[in-house]
Subunit: 91 residues, 10 copies
């Protein structure tokens, strides 16, 4: 599983429509309208890097009303469950 | 339910330790080490704004090795399920 | 009660009109024209996060003449009255 | 009456203490801990420009734990009441 | 007397015309074409905050060819004469 | 006559002292404590470029408590008087 | 051999087309679509500085759909092979 | 195969040493000292995302003299050979 | 003699034409196409501040294809010859 | 001949000393103290890319009092003489 977090600035009057259009794409697990410098944050979860490439540079690129995106691919996920369970990331 | 996404820059040698310390906090649902300008992204989910205030300004503030954070509180969540079920903002 | 402070850059010739249009929206408690990098600061006060979402991403988005906004949702309010009275924020 | 909005970045572990110290100063009407790039927003209200100068460059400067401030003096206030009463900038 | 310093970026071919148009406005005491990141610096001197509001958000806003402004209202003036004379700013 | 405008960020607790120290330097005609991203703005007026070099890189550099400066040398001055007298750039 | 790394922001819907157009240019050794603030990174390798000038300011400039580029000419290359072999860069 | 490009700012006197230390790490294919805003660019090539996580957040983090890094994971590689052979993203 | 260094961003397809147009202006001693965040650097040398004002705000402003400029007027020149010869800048 | 322009921020009290130290280095043709966001601009001229690497990453790195540098290697030089003589990029 490959995860990425995407920070998005949208056209002002389009924020809700962009959020819905993104949420409807396969591979987009959640979209949040947020406070701060960005309008939306999307969480992407796909099965490999090639699908991520297609989602980010092709399918998301076709959603209209997006002004700017900054994609942050996740290297590793940390969660309490993992920590309680087995997690022994050599450090 | 109140959600926030937090962008985090950590001390270089501390990234993994900070990620684990954050993931161990109640209310921190996931932490990702990421590419791009930030080191970590944390997803917070708590039951109301007061808990969010405590988590962000008090409990997370005690985690050492964090250089800078930018918290983006979510106003609204969009997901395919919601869209299919015709929009019922869980809050 | 949910509060947010919004930093706004408006079209140059529209600053006063934008300020008036924002001040007329329900949930916008005050608008200030200000010096510095921003043109206007708006203080929003609504009764819950859902209304905040609607105010920020839908009703404010329809005000014309706004170039850019940065919304800062308040986690917690501090004031002398609170401090004198009961305030015992565990710290 | 002279108003200013101040954006504040504080030392991470000091955010709550700084907020309380600021809120205790005469002339500081409200302080909010906020999401986004800043930690706190303070609303200042004093009776003239000289008092504002003293509050910003002298009294607030003595509060420890502040890393950076950006003061936005308000030129004019807009609110629904004023609009209804046909604009009388309190100053 | 209220003073403000305004940093201005103008359309490239308009710098001189903008400078002249600003210098012709009542309340604009001097305009300089400058090196660095900005094109012009204007010094404004008016008799009170209301006039400053009108000058900055209304009359200057009508000067064409301005791309961006950043207004820095002065809190306090320091000069050798003041220092030699009576200046005893409690510190 | 050569003019320069200097934007200054000072140590928080030193703003007033830095302003007074700068105002006491020969060639510094005025210093203002200001709102916005900077703490102080100084207006320098000396008789030629060599004196400006000495004032900026040597004498001002010795004033303690300054964190950062950005000097904007003026190429040309515009003022209503000049405009009325048909432009004679004093230099 | 002269090397340069180029950071590229492209029009959103053009990222793949721009990447292919760049990769087809002689002297462009690789192009990557990337996460973070940029859309593409291109690695250029040509035989001398004059060819680099022509590639960057003329041939790449004709590729449509590029919004912004930042070219980082390489001064020196470091690799394990060089290090194992002869590398004795006086230090 | 997973690729990432890393932009690096190093301590001024350490640039060459940092470049050599990075180039000696397994998974770091090339390091360039470059002109522009960054000091070094490293090209990382490892066999999967987990190794990338370990290389970036653990092994590179131990190299001393690095001030700041910005990692850009590659989604897809484009090269003339691929284009000639009709696009087969090696991954 | 008055010197200024000008950092220039040009329209992508115009970089060479802008460089030639600038180099043809009297007072522009050299123009370089450069790597990094800027496209061109111009070195200006004229006999006094008034000519510099005219060159920067009027004649250069007419060159088409320039997006942005940042002019850095030189206060003082340092060179080995000066140092070997007489240079005794009181310090 | 290889040319580079270097933008430099120096420690405030060191600007003149840094300028002299840089000007004394072989390969540094001129150094200017300048207005604007930077303190100094150095023009480097050496005979090839390897010497440029050594000058920038090793010899200049040893000059104390420099806070930050941004090196812009020149791809091509344009000057009136060249234009008159029909472009022969000396390299």
């Amino acid at each position: 599983m490959v995860t990425a977090i995407v920070l998005i600035r949208a056209m002002r009057v389009e924020v809700t429509r962009v959020a819905e259009a993104l949420a409807a794409l396969e591979g987009v697990s959640e979209v949040y309208s947020v406070g701060g410098r960005y309008d939306l944050v999307a969480i992407l979860r796909v099965s490999n890097n090639e699908e991520m490439a297609r989602l980010v540079t092709q399918r998301m690129a076709l959603v209209e009303g997006i002004r700017e995106t900054e994609t942050m691919p996740a290297f590793q996920a940390f969660s309490r469950h993992d920590l309680e369970a087995m997690f022994t990331v050599g450090e």
